[in-house]
């Protein structure tokens, strides 16, 4: 077989693999509870963020560092981006840079308003927003807007 088609095929496969690698996984009202249930036994903090949200971008590295510190005690950070699918690669790259554990997720509900209400009826949808779940999978606390790490750490410490 000639070398050029093999090279082209290799390049194409590499591009496809890279594209798949940088995609975030869509999440909605059906898959979100399964995501939380899969972490039963752990303390889960879900961070809704977006690449266009400056306070979110400032907060994520702090959350990533906290997770690294608390991982051994059963703490998990799950990130859910509110970006459009076209921004997946940019969002993925940002998660990589901040040291956030992957996979990352992206809101992909039929109706955004219904999904926001499903997560927390008191949530306006404004970002950033954090939702803390106990080891039994029940939501314990919601944090709307920029949150001091101290408040997060205090809430998590009650669940350890």
């Amino acid at each position: 077989m000639p070398a050029r088609p093999i090279l082209s095929l290799t390049v194409i496969l590499a591009i496809v693999a890279f594209a798949a690698e940088t995609r975030l996984t869509g999440v909605d009202e059906v898959s979100f509870p399964k995501l939380i249930a899969a972490q039963r036994g752990k303390i889960v903090l879900v961070d809704f963020w977006a690449t266009w949200c400056e306070p979110c971008r400032e907060e994520l590295p702090k959350l990533a560092a906290y997770e690294a510190k608390m991982r051994a005690r059963g703490f998990v950070l799950i990130t859910v981006s509110a970006d459009e699918p076209e921004q997946d690669a940019a969002a993925y790259a940002f998660l990589l840079r901040t040291g956030v554990r992957l996979p990352g997720y992206r809101k992909q509900a039929r109706n955004d308003g219904d999904f926001i209400d499903f997560i927390d009826p008191k949530w306006s949808g404004a970002l950033p927003a954090l939702f803390l779940y106990g080891r039994d999978g029940a939501k314990v606390k919601s944090f709307f807007g920029e949150t001091d790490m101290q408040d997060i750490e205090q809430a998590v410490s009650k669940l350890l």
Binding site: E84, E86, D112, S124, G125, A126, L127, G145, E146
Partner: protein
């Protein structure tokens, strides 16, 4: 980003109580022209009024610049009055004026530096829109439409609300979840 002498904090935690609720009257409030003059809502409103909170720097608010211009152009000829308000403590009147010129906005913008108007409406993000009818009642609160990507828009929240109000009908979806960057409010002294 400019450094400020004031400490600013986004989010609802330090906002004042929301006064204007759907189905209830909107009372008079004040904003500031870009020249620094106080302007009352009563001087700006029309039979049908749209209040939109916007930002110069928010990528989502900017993603709606063309659509906001289009809504303005399409509905002002039907007698709708528009009040575009920048309530971000981090954005000066000069910033707003420069941004408006750069983007060719055909409408006036106002500042709400203390966030008082934003608090009255319960506005959290930019862009966030409100429609008030001829009786002064708040009839719609929410997004311009449901996706910053035009190809993905399913619901034209603001346009649908305006069409319903102008036709004297109920607004089918009176409340939608506005999305965008949080309004950067000034920290209030406790």
């Amino acid at each position: 980003m400019k450094k400020l002498l004031l400490c600013v904090l986004a989010g609802a935690a330090l906002a004042g109580a929301q006064e204007f609720k759907l189905g209830s009257p909107v009372s008079d409030f004040e904003v500031t022209s870009l020249k620094g003059e106080p302007v009352k809502y009563s001087a700006l409103k029309g039979d049908t009024t749209v209040v939109i909170f916007v930002s110069t720097v928010c990528p989502i608010s900017n993603g709606y610049n063309d659509r906001m211009k289009a809504v303005y152009n399409d509905y002002r000829v039907k007698g709708v009055h528009f009040i575009f308000i920048n309530a971000n403590a981090t954005e000066s009147a000069a910033d707003v004026e420069a941004h408006a010129k750069a983007h060719g906005f055909p409408f006036a913008l106002y500042k709400d530096a203390a966030g008082a108007a934003a608090d009255l409406f319960g506005a959290q993000v930019t862009p966030e829109t409100f429609v008030i009818d001829r009786n002064g009642v708040l009839r719609y609160h929410g997004y311009v439409d449901d996706s910053v990507q035009e190809a993905r828009v399913h619901n034209q929240g603001l346009r649908q609300a305006l069409d319903a109000v102008l036709a004297g009908k109920d607004v089918p979806m009176a409340h939608t979840k506005a999305f965008g960057c949080t309004i950067k409010r000034r920290r209030r002294a406790s």
